[in-house]
Each structure stands twice: as structure tokens, then as C-alpha cells.
Symmetry: C2
Subunit: 126 residues, 2 copies
DNA sequence: CGGCATCCTGTGAGATACTG
DNA sequence: CAGTATCTCACAGGATGCCG
């Protein structure tokens, strides 16, 4: 297994695209980025309500990951009670631009995907 | 739970970007698309060797999904033994272009992400 | 308010063996 | 050659309860 694992690690290390996809492919991560992009800096509690269906655990976990990756900043205001704001970094902001490309493709082509899917499920044969 | 689930479905239905991310965020799906993009049509067995570490099960499952979504075609040649070729559709090809945008961002910015990550793990505080 | 620690569960990936 | 079928097991992720 050592050999396989070594190859796998090398593969990941050498493939930035793959690692990017791992990041934005994450359901909550992409939603957080978009939310912060649309509304600017947000408090934790506000993010929680803006992103429908996310659990505390996943929100926190996602934010930690994004912070670690330098995509968002975490600002603690030590008032009582505590206030924590999250915002996109310039890096996160540039990623937002790339996400827009994806969005464009999606809005232009997903209907075709839907049609293909419906046809496939109907069992259409050429 | 009905309410929550209903909202969730509506959310997914109304958000093409999210569904696109679900597709290309899938590890094997994106690798298959890129492999077919780089080398043109490929047989099942060739895909299996080109995509390092994929299991039969996941490869088949991934290809079925991509075929269903109209991104790849599956062509069976009923010789003995059977021969099956997979190729990108025009739709899949256009998606490949979008993936290139992602790749560009990744190659330009992932080093920054790596740096941020290393700093975070080192425990650097501002 | 904004978390972390703990427990619990379901999905889904991998290994293995069999088939048209 | 190109799959399908079955099992097992790990881990992502939800629920809950406590803390600074």
C-alpha cells in the first residue's frame, strides 16, 4: 500500500486544480464564500441564518478551513458577549470571480444537463 | 423535517451552480473529464489505468453519472470480447473549458493558499 | 454569542468474487 | 473486457450538552 499512497500524495501535491476542487467542491465552503461575497463581512450568527441548513459544527469547521487557507479572515471583538466577524480576504475575493465563471456555465448549460438526465431516466435509446 | 427538506430541494433546484459543483467536485468525475479531454476517446480499461487509484466500482459509477448528465457518450462495440469507448460530448467539452479557468486560478493562487496554510499551522499570530 | 467535546448514525468507498 | 453483486468498515456529519 505504501507505493499506492505515495503516488496518491504526489498526485495531490502536484495537482493544484484537484485541491481547489476539494475546497470549493465542499458544499458549505462555497456557500460561505458566496454569502460573504454578496453581503460583505458577516457575523457568525448571521452566516448561520443566511446559509440555510448548516449545522453549527459544519459552519465552524468550514470557517476554520477557509481561514486556514487564507480565504477568509476571522475578527474577534472581545465585547460581552463576544462578537466574531468573517470577511473575504483579497484571495477569497479573487476566487469569487472564478466561481462566477462556473456560475455562468451552470446557468447556460445546466438545462441541457437536466434534459439529458430526464431522457436517460426515461430510458430513451438512440 | 418535511419543511426543512422541502426548502433544501427548492434550494438545489434553484441553484445550478451548486449542482455543477456537485458534479465536478466529485473527485473521479473531474478526473475522467480531464482525461478524456486530454486524450480523446478512451476505452474503459484504458481509463482505469490512466486514472490512478480508481476502483472498478467508482469508475463505472462515475461514468454512468457523466453519461446520464450528457457529458460523455458510451459506445459499445459488440465484438468478442466486448469493447466500450467513452468520449466527451460537446457539452462535456465546453465544461472542460470552464475547468481550465479553475485550473488557471489554482496554478496562480494555490501557492498563496499553501503559504497561508503553513502559517496557520505554525500558529503564526498577526 | 460563538464556539468545542462527545456521542451516534447513515452513506458511501474499497476489496473481493462472480458473469455475459 | 467490462462490468455487477455483496460485504465491510470508516468517517462525514447531525444532535446534544457544556463553557468562556
Amino acid at each position: 500500500m505504501d507505493v499506492a499512497e505515495a503516488r496518491f500524495d504526489a498526485f495531490n501535491a502536484l495537482c493544484p486544480s484537484r485541491r481547489l476542487l476539494d475546497t470549493i467542491g465542499d458544499k458549505w465552503a462555497s456557500l460561505v464564500i458566496v454569502a460573504l461575497g454578496l453581503e460583505g463581512p458577516l457575523r457568525y450568527s448571521r452566516l448561520a441564518t443566511r446559509i440555510d441548513g448548516v449545522s453549527q459544527k459544519m459552519l465552524t469547521q468550514t470557517l476554520r478551513g477557509l481561514e486556514r487557507d487564507g480565504l477568509v479572515t476571522r475578527t474577534v471583538t472581545p465585547s460581552v458577549p463576544v462578537r466574531v466577524d468573517y470577511a473575504l480576504t483579497p484571495l477569497g475575493l479573487s476566487l469569487l470571480g472564478t466561481l462566477r465563471h462556473l456560475k455562468d456555465w451552470a446557468e447556460e448549460h445546466m438545462p441541457q444537463v437536466d434534459a439529458a438526465r430526464a431522457a436517460y431516466d426515461r430510458g430513451d435509446r438512440v
